[in-house]
Structures are given as structure tokens and as C-alpha cells.
């Protein structure tokens, strides 16, 4: 599926870590997160459009994921942690209701 041009903002609290260190990840992405409950001026229901799934992989291995419901705020912010075991890319993926993806990438070096 298509990858959206939206650039998520990702912040790792450290880029270089010792094996076993806990890394804190903060990520923010622009998205309306339309609930599907609101109506427009004509009384028509605005269809639901949210990011329903979030996944984080480190060096190809999934470390954290989340399912979002419409009760997650617009421009969803997510913060979580992972344990550094090996160097590699940190890839964050959000999946939209329409199937498109928003992908952001950072990297970590483990010594």
C-alpha cells in the first residue's frame, strides 16, 4: 500500500547505548484521527479516518505495538521504551484506516 508523505517526528533519548540500556522513544505524527461520530454543517456524518495500528521494530524485530481506537487524540503522540540489544534501524509504522502507511525511521548504535 501507498506510503504517506507525512513525516513523523521521532525522538530517541539516546542514539548510542550499552547493551541492556532502556531507550525511551517519543513520536508524534500529524493526522486528523476523525472519529466517525462528528457531523459536518449539513448534518452528514464525517466518515471515520484514524490511524488504527502502530508498530515499532528494532533491527527488524517487533518491540512494541499498539491498536488505536477513535478515542486517541488527533495528531497522535506515543511514548514507549525498549531494551537495547543490537544496533540497527528503529522503524515506526502507523497504518491508516484506508490501508496507507506512515513510516518513520531512526537508528540506534549498541556498544
Amino acid at each position: 500500500m501507498a506510503t504517506s508523505p507525512v513525516k513523523p517526528r521521532i525522538k530517541l533519548d539516546k542514539k548510542e547505548a550499552k547493551k541492556g540500556d532502556i531507550i525511551d522513544v517519543k513520536a508524534l505524527v500529524s493526522h486528523v484521527m476523525e472519529t466517525g461520530l462528528r457531523k459536518n454543517a449539513d448534518g452528514q456524518v464525517i466518515p471515520r479516518k484514524i490511524l488504527n495500528k502502530f508498530t515499532c521494530t528494532v533491527n527488524g524485530k517487533e518491540v512494541f505495538s499498539a491498536d488505536f481506537e477513535p478515542a486517541v487524540s488527533a495528531n497522535p503522540y506515543i511514548q514507549f521504551k525498549f531494551r537495547a540489544t543490537e544496533s540497527g534501524p528503529v522503524v515506526l509504522t502507523w497504518i491508516d484506516d484506508d490501508g496507507s502507511k506512515i513510516v518513520g525511521e531512526d537508528s540506534i548504535t549498541v556498544s
Binding site: I22, I23, T35, L37, R38, K39, V58, K61, E62, V63, F64, S65, A66, D67, F68, E69, P70, A71, V72, S73, A74, P76, Y77, I78, Q79, F80, K81, F82, R83, T85
Partner: protein, 152 residues
């Protein structure tokens, strides 16, 4: 028993049935308007979650229900044999009870996540955690919301 039943009797019987089923917990009202009971059951598979282990951090009073910061953390060593696999966040006052579900792995290191949520009004937010050994833990917190977050 006579066929016709007064309204009061019917209500009493319904109330007794609900109490007997052990559904009156955590919340002030047993007649939740949304689907929190179904979602709880679907998550736990009928098991009864024990209070504790979870720290659910939410403001006491949220001025704007559109973005309420929420942090959930669960005490766990997060090793391959003993870790928290899933945490579900539910609301008893939103049109849909589901808010988010977090999936942790032993590689998460710490079972903690933070996001911002929408709350339609003053209500309880409930977190239920599933441990790798099949045990369930729960915590809930009441949030007073000044302006609801469901949009006009």
C-alpha cells in the same frame, strides 16, 4: 407465579440477576451505556482481573477532553518467561469503550506507554493488563472533564 409482573418486581429481579453475575465492580453504575463489559470480557476471556501492579497516570481534572495525557505502567521484570504482553485502556463514558491496546514484548524492557486520549465527559478510565502467565491486573481512575472531547 402470576404471569403479570409489576414494573418494580421486574426491576428488582433484573438488579438481582446483575448482582449475582458479579458485574457490579469498579464502576458506580452497573448499567454502563457503552460496550465496556463486552470489551473487558473479550480481553480477559472471562477471567477476573486483580487490582494492583498497574499505575495509571491521568490528570484529576482535564480541562480539554480532546487531549488528555495518559500514562500506563505495569510492574514486571519483562523477561522472556515473565512479562506483560497486552494492556487495554477502556473508558466507561465514551460512545465506544475502547481507547487503545498496547502490545509489549520482552524486548520492551519496561511495560510503559504514554499517549493522549479523548474523553467525552467525566468518567472512569480503566486499564487491564495481561501477563505472560495468564494473570490479569487492573486499575482505574476517575477523570473530571470540563469540556468533552467528542466534537460538536
Amino acid at each position: 407465579m402470576s404471569v403479570s409482573m409489576t414494573r418494580r418486581q421486574a426491576l428488582l429481579m433484573a438488579g438481582a440477576a446483575v448482582a449475582a453475575a458479579g458485574l457490579v465492580d469498579m464502576r458506580t453504575s452497573a448499567f454502563a451505556a457503552n460496550n465496556i463489559d463486552e470489551l473487558t470480557k473479550a480481553f480477559t476471556g472471562g477471567a477476573k482481573p486483580v487490582a494492583g501492579k498497574i499505575k495509571l497516570d491521568l490528570p484529576e481534572i482535564a480541562e480539554n477532553g480532546n487531549t488528555v495525557p495518559m500514562t500506563v505502567s505495569v510492574e514486571s521484570p519483562m523477561t522472556d518467561s515473565d512479562y506483560i504482553s497486552d494492556v487495554i485502556i477502556l473508558s466507561d463514558g465514551n460512545p465506544n469503550a475502547g481507547i487503545a491496546t498496547f502490545h509489549f514484548t520482552p524486548a520492551s524492557g519496561v511495560a510503559e506507554a504514554n499517549t493522549r486520549i479523548r474523553l467525552a465527559g467525566t468518567q472512569h478510565v480503566v486499564a487491564i493488563a495481561k501477563a505472560s502467565d495468564g494473570k490479569f491486573y487492573t486499575a482505574s481512575k476517575e477523570v473530571k472533564v470540563t469540556i468533552g472531547g467528542c466534537g460538536g
